[in-house]
Symmetry: C2
DNA sequence: CTTACAACTGGGCGCGATGTCCGCTTATTC
DNA sequence: GAATAAGCGGACATCGCGCCCAGTTGTAAG
């Protein structure tokens, strides 16, 4: 990549972050971003085919950091704690991430596209690995990830439910699903 | 309402149902529907401000029927069974509804608009009423409804997860959350 | 039956966003 | 300092939306 191209990409990301934070993510047009970054539409579309790809780029570093902590960080987030605790810790971390970047995530994942993200695949694999002793983990995993959808998060917030209440709600969910052994001896 | 207007409304709904079923709901433009129904754009917009309102109208009868069964039908869907069973029954009924009408529901509820629906309010109130003895039911209820989002449903299907597996996954969720009493004496 | 009114009809119009295309510019390499 | 390829940017065509109004048609009163 040429030096000027890198510079422009940086300008685009900075401008987009600003705009996404100010107004809602989908009240920002490609044109707005191009204008704010001081580049032409063509330049913008060269790197980023749509708004979502810009939001993905902006989120990337944060998500990778969380992924690293999941794989190799200290428990209960990282390996070493019992599944229920790790799931709760994962929920906590995701809620913090959402809390910081809802606007970005809403820009990324509208509806079905959410599941196509590489990040979703990672969260799914992680949670899946915690479900070794429930029935049909492959069906449960998406159910457990559903409450982390950005619009659910946002909706709860608009209802006045605080981050802490969300945390304890998800904690109840994690404990309930992973600790209930009704049918086992 | 004038007789011809009623006739046209009928034509619009029939045409829309056809189109929604054929292609995906959001590959159908207002123009398509107007053309297929044999009415002008203005006529279409008179009754229905957008695609969502058409899908809502098409879903309305089915949803009302379920709502009636929730309020006054036989248990476990209606009153009389213990909460965990009623929640499971509710999940089952919703999955059946989704299974029949995913295309419509996807046309209705994209992202945040899902929560603005009158129907969502009803489901929320119903499930809320089943949560009398969990902590902070107002925070849990949206979590329990999240897996019923049409895009989650669709995603699981595209992964090859059958209706039955979805049913038992949600049943595990209901039982887990409602039957776990870790902190109680 | 006729008449007069109000509701309904339908397509034309402007708007705003999208994504592509191509002539020009600028960084890089020898 | 020239050659060359990569990058730039804005003009352009396209599409869907939603409004609007002049003509039409159902309806109800006389």
């Amino acid at each position: 990549m040429r030096a000027d191209a890198a510079r422009n990409q940086e300008k685009v990301l900075a401008a987009a972050e600003q705009l996404f934070a100010t107004r809602g993510a989908n009240d920002v047009t490609m044109d707005d971003i191009a204008k704010a970054a001081g580049v032409g539409r063509g330049t913008l579309y060269r790197r980023f085919p749509d708004r979502a790809s810009i939001a993905v780029a902006l989120l990337d570093s944060h998500e990778q950091e969380l992924q690293a902590r999941l794989l190799g960080g200290p428990p209960p987030l990282g390996p070493g704690a019992p599944p229920a605790e790790r799931l709760t810790a994962f929920y906590d971390a995701m809620l913090v991430l959402l809390d910081k970047h809802v606007h970005l995530v809403l820009g990324t994942e509208v509806g079905a596209s959410r599941f196509a993200t590489g990040a979703y695949g990672f969260w799914r694999a992680h949670v899946r690995s915690l479900l070794s002793d429930v029935d049909d983990p492959d069906a449960i995993v998406d159910v457990l990830l559903a409450p982390l959808a950005p619009d659910v998060f946002q909706h709860q917030r608009s209802l006045g439910i605080s981050l802490d209440r969300q945390r304890s709600a998800l904690s109840q969910l994690a404990t309930g699903v992973l600790s209930w052994r009704g049918g086992h001896p």
